[in-house]
Symmetry: C2
Subunit: 411 residues, 2 copies
């Protein structure tokens, strides 16, 4: 359905706009709306990610025990992460022989290598930026942006093999995939579908990124896909510079004006010369300053209702990584948690009514208090059981069973 509806939009805008969302209505700015002290940001060691720390016991033995099963324990997120594990071998042209949880038993046939000769007509950065975006939309991406790859967005070390990361690509293409509105409407934020929503977006964006990177290599330029099982890059700064969102109160989460926080991203890094997008300003700093609904509803109290801080050179709202990761990994009455996504007033379907509210929230600062007040009044953020479609199941020692308990909220 993607292309059908986006074409309906495109029919009106033709050449000027090939994005499915009206990104041309966004205010562009020279730098992200939250300060990044480029020279102060240290490269991040992927082994310091919350889930890595959870796995090695930094948050206690219970969370460490749960970490290897917290995605796999529901059968659907289990299937999606299994597929994502396969896509880990397809990010570039290398043969991979990893150890660990995503071990390959032998040599995987790789994707295609970088062609020896650059394809004709690929040397104009503006036309190629447009072409790459249109290709990503053809491949059914929901949103796409391009930036120069900030050196500080490259991990210092990989969590998968512990080795230093050496990634010299100049550009980054970010591909966003919606976590599914209907599920977002139905779930309460931390019942049994949350991880499946995340891994739907991780695996689908990863699939697209692997194809797109192969395509760019076939044009004669080095390219690598980065996705939920094989990132060599930190995603949030790339999304900021690529104009796909602003930093939100939900800790390190970049919020997209049309998808809200309801997405995951895959990245393709490349040497293909590309014109870059500019960061956007849709008033989110003011909005998140006022709203605080995610902080109020967070079941682990990991989200702050206070002001922004400077952390590793980034201006951002603080997040308690231990509380957030421990709750998601250790959730015994559900699989993962996305309550912040659930309750965010920007998590809405793209209907005529919500398009109008969305425009108003972006353009009219005084309307934001009304939108925040109205969001609670209209009952948004509550689960809609009529839209529930998934099975509450939990793998316990290799056998699926109906869980003893499910988190409830607003019932």
């Amino acid at each position: 359905m993607t292309r059908i509806f986006s074409s309906e939009w495109r029919n009106r805008k033709q050449i000027e706009c090939y994005d499915p969302f009206p990104v041309h209505t966004l205010k562009r700015v020279s730098r992200p709306t939250t300060a990044i002290n480029d020279h102060l940001v240290r490269r991040w060691d992927q082994r310091e990610h919350g889930f890595s720390r959870a796995g090695r016991g930094d948050f206690g033995p219970f969370v460490a025990k749960e970490q290897p099963r917290f995605v796999q324990k529901h059968p659907l997120s289990g299937s999606l992460v299994t597929m994502l594990g396969k896509l880990a071998y397809l990010v570039d042209e290398e043969q991979r022989l990893w150890d660990g949880p995503f071990a390959n038993n032998g040599a995987i046939p790789p994707m295609r290598p970088t062609a020896a000769t650059k394809a004709p007509g690929t040397d104009d950065p503006h036309s190629m930026a447009r072409h790459i975006k249109e290709t990503a939309y053809f491949l059914r991406s929901d949103a796409v942006g391009i930036c120069e790859l900030p050196p500080y967005a490259v991990y210092s070390h990989s969590a998968y093999d512990g080795k230093p990361v050496d990634l010299q690509h100049k550009y980054a293409i970010a591909i966003l995939i919606d976590q599914d509105w209907r599920s977002a409407k139905a779930f309460n934020g931390h019942d049994w579908i949350s991880n499946s929503m995340s891994f739907l977006s991780y695996s689908t964006s990863g699939f697209i990124a692997c194809v797109l990177a192969d395509y760019i290599r076939s044009l004669g330029y080095s390219a690598r896909a980065h996705h939920g099982r094989n990132y060599q890059v930190v995603v949030p700064p790339i999304l900021l510079w690529a104009g796909l969102g602003e930093m939100s109160r939900i800790g390190d989460i970049v919020l997209n004006p049309f998808l809200g926080p309801r997405f995951k991203a895959a990245i393709v890094t490349t040497d293909l010369p590309l014109a870059v997008d500019k960061p956007i300003d849709f008033g989110l700093q003011d909005f998140c300053d006022k709203c605080k609904k995610c902080a109020r509803e967070c079941p682990s109290k990991a989200i702050s209702d206070g002001g922004k801080v400077i952390h590793n050179g980034y201006e951002k709202w603080p997040i308690d990584v231990e509380k957030c990761s421990s709750f998601r990994v250790g959730n015994q009455k559900g699989a993962g948690c996305g309550t912040c996504i659930k309750v965010c007033p920007w998590n809405k379907p793209y209907t005529s009514f919500h398009r109008m509210v969305n425009w108003t929230m972006r353009k009219v600062p005084l309307a934001r208090n009304l939108a925040i007040w109205g969001d609670d009044l209209m009952g948004y953020g509550k689960p809609d059981p009529t839209a529930k479609w998934w099975l509450d199941l939990e793998d316990v020692n290799g056998v699926l069973r109906v869980p003893d308990n499910t988190n409830e909220r607003y019932r």
Copy 2:
């Protein structure tokens, strides 16, 4: 975007309708609208497929020479078929060590096996049929249908290893993916994007089918994904019985009332007990009898403008497989061919206007002549160069170059 818009529809229909298209408005019938003499249909040897025959020289040495490169010669369809080749290893829980064009260099880590224990709550065929469809839509399918797997829809022999096919699953779930309306609007039917459109749908539906089959196995039921690089089943009879379309004048092509012929399908076969859909009747036999636009525009003259015949037990319009396959494989001024898809009056975007025309074509027989006449009058079927987004490139001996010639049409 899929889910956003489909939800908009769902908001209105809630529980009764979880399909993104209004399939509940379709007339259901007990048998497909074209006769299938079930006891007369022989199982088909996959090696007798047009592309297999093209490869082994049945259509002459030139077509045989072109067969191994005709998808790979454009860089984007090359990337998509490369990915589809990887998905060939992920259709079930088996380790695959094939020879031939999709050879694996070693053992591929398989998807998950069938769980030893059936998951609780999975024994009601009606609720599971609904759940499986909703899961497939969650995974971003465009249309889904379920039928019992007709024994004659299983290939007798595989084209990949030449071995007899033994597939005992009782049910088939069909997953349709749109070939992209914008590209369909832009291309002329046999320029350089046609194969990419096919393989977008093959690879995306294959990706979803591999995840869905893994999920069903995790629930404790045998399941296998079948896609463009690993079919063990013949697709058209499954689509007919699953209520996803009627046989069309375009030879063996089943036409969906909402996507037209602009899709490819992957299939999941399984032993999970499922309530099945019924075949549909939206007047296509009358429509195709009158329209004949595909026959008129087919560049290889493979499509008949005459009446239906009985072939291998199926009532269908005849197709000249040699002409069709030879043109697609041998096309020197483009990559593949989908002119029949391009010019079909059912190949339309899902806009308000076209929804109305679509409803009228389905429900009002007398309006069909008007629709057919109006389709030509409005210029549908002509390429729209303002929507063109792809690069005309051709791999010649490992180097991409701008093709010397491109097929033109209506210019």
